[in-house]
Amino acid sequence: MVRMRAFEDQSVRAFRSGLAGGYLHVYTGMEATAIGWLSSRQPDDPIITAYRDHAHALYLGIDPVVCMAEIMGRAKGTSKGKGGSMHLYSADHHFYGGWGIVGGHTALGAGLGFAIKYKGGNQVAHCFLGDGAANAGVFFEVMNMASLWDLPVIFIIENNEFAMGTRLEFHAADPEMHKRAEGFNMHHERIDGMDVIDVRRDAQRIISNVRETSRPALIEVMNYRYAGHGAADNDQTLYRSQQEVELAWKRDPVHRLANLLTEQYGVNKQILEKIQREAEEEMEGVYDEAAASPKPEPDEVYSDVYTDMQPERGH
């Protein structure tokens, strides 16, 4: 979690310094969800998420330098610099992205589950989405099909209470979004997402159930985003009070884990501080290394449009 957070600090720094552009969304405050959940996966389970994807990519083991290089649009990035912050991918790590169209990737997520079932594999597909994304029509279509066809896919709503500047209660007729699976005869529940141990425990139970039954599930994980929606979101008072954010910080999953470790497991505070410091240093190094790496060659613009040909060239 501290590595993730340190990474996000550096990715924001990249944005501020002009080394990254476009839309950049950090995961700060939500770490317990991705870590707790993904720590419970099977290594070859396919994972897919939206644009708030740095944490998932890191946790799956993609080299942070390669991630940061992508965020900076460099040739050594996960997508050779063509994807950017929102579009990290790694076939080697079974990480299927990194998507920008809210809700759109949930269909791909169901497709991953479809392929598993078709091939007779024992993986489970994990599809993360936001609370805002759970209003997209396609998501309902694929919940129906996932249940109808017994696809081994779990839809994990990372409910951070906001869709950009729109608060949950202004976008969802029923703020208990997991209930949306009710009409599809699909398992659904809401769990807490601020305690990494709790998330891990719940995830293990849920995932093994899906793996056994090949019945899909919709899980709503309640967390909170401390940062603005994206790096360019510079007036959060438009949609929430300073107070509310401060209150939410009291539930900080990093502190929570730190407290647990020091109080229940007697871990020395200095060890934690050292971890923290090392994480920060590591990610500063990551920043520097990515920043020093080369930009894509101009001719790259035409490659990877197709697997076997180039598009018509020129203006």
């Binding site: 396919p46 897919i48 990035g77 996960t78 997508s79 050779k80 610099g81 063509k82 994807g83 579009h87 991918y89 790694s90 076939a91 299927y96 992205g97 990194g98 998507w99 169209i101 759109g104 990737h105 949930t106 269909a107 791909l108 997520g109 169901a110 497709g111 991953l112 479809f114 392929a115 598993i116 078709y118 091939k119 029509g137 396609v138 279509e141 694929v142 129906n144 099909m145 109808l148 066809w149 490659s303 990877d304 449009v305 197709y306 697997t307 076997d308 040909m309 598009p311 018509e312």
Partner: protein, 324 residues
């Protein structure tokens, strides 16, 4: 073997399903109901639900699921009951499937075929009569083909299934019962990006694709009677586009007429016309002409509908004007 366009499509799918266990069909009413245009007739019984899957009416979801499955190595053939319904899935097609290979820096492939009837049939009215191929041919990352003959339907569908990129495969409903020959060779495939010359000529080049190729051919025969020698070029593949074959013909005939069923204004025929005049300017004795569908939502009444779809007379009139 003599067969029909419809049966050739089916045979291509059967052979590909048998050849590669990753190939499967997915779509609305393609299984138990045998497909609304009967292209998939008998396949559900033969290959069972595992390979021929009936779906709910959820085009975006269907295409998205097929795309996700393709990312994991499957090779779905999605039937759109009509291409008009692919409009609902456009975000999945052009903003997901078409971009994955690029956005992932080449890590993921999307070998998906989206096929179905495109264009007007018989009084299906405004919401069901779209020609979508021009829009798709505008999108980098897609391949777009529109075969006009039985052999092409067969060979190009096999190529499409074996292609590692998303392919839009459009079938004009007026062609399903067309008869023709196909070779007795399961490995027969036809490359994309090659025009075919359907009728040789030296006075004017008629450029068409899908059903309009036949309309051009009819017009060419009528022109023969007038002593005018028309060359008919069947584009076959809009993206990639074999512009060179078209240019070579126009450099010979010095006149070109592009014919398409889609709404005239902004249709893909405009692109073809624009390219011809860019590359053959010094050879042209007349402007590049176009004949397209009327710029109106498709009306239901048969007399109005028939006015909208280009026919032989429309092509002849335009050709004669260019020759005048």
């Amino acid at each position: 073997m003599t067969t029909t366009y419809r049966d050739a499509l089916r045979q291509a799918m059967v052979e590909e399903i048998e050849r590669d266990e990753n190939v499967f069909l997915i779509g609305e009413d393609i299984g138990r109901y045998q497909g609304t245009f009967r292209v998939t007739q008998g396949l559900f019984e033969r290959f069972k639900q595992h390979r021929v899957l009936d779906t709910p009416i959820s085009e975006p979801g269907i295409v998205g699921i097929a795309t996700g499955a393709a990312m994991m190595g499957l090779r779905p053939i999605v039937e759109m009951m009509t291409m008009s319904f692919s409009i609902l899935a456009l975000d999945q097609i052009i903003n997901h499937a078409a971009k994955i290979h690029y956005m992932s820096g080449g890590q993921f492939k999307v070998p998906i075929v989206i096929r179905g009837p495109g264009g007007a049939a018989n009084q299906l009215s405004a919401q069901h009569s779209h020609s979508m191929e021009g829009w798709y041919a505008h999108v980098p990352g897609l391949k777009v083909v529109a075969p006009s003959t039985v052999e092409d339907a067969y060979g190009m569908l096999k190529t499409a299934v074996r292609d590692d990129n998303p392919v839009i495969f459009t079938e004009n409903p007026g062609l399903y019962s067309l008869k023709g020959e196909i070779p007795d060779d399961k490995e027969f495939t036809l490359p994309f990006g090659k025009c075919a010359i359907r009728h040789e000529g030296s006075d004017i080049t008629l450029v068409g694709y899908s059903r309009m190729t036949h309309v051009c051919a009819e017009a060419a025969e009528a022109l023969d009677q007038d002593g005018v020698s028309a060359e008919v070029i069947d584009v076959r593949s809009l993206l990639p586009l074999d512009a060179e074959t078209i240019f070579a013909s126009v450099r010979k005939t010095n006149r070109a007429l592009v014919v398409y069923e889609d709404w005239k204004s902004g249709g893909f025929g405009a692109e073809i016309a624009a390219r011809i005049q860019e590359s053959c300017f010094d050879y042209l004795d007349a402007p590049v002409g176009r004949v397209g569908g009327l710029n109106v939502p498709m009306p239901y009444a048969r007399n109005l509908e028939l006015m909208c779809i280009p026919n032989k007379e429309d092509v002849l009139a335009a050709a004669r004007q260019l020759l005048a």
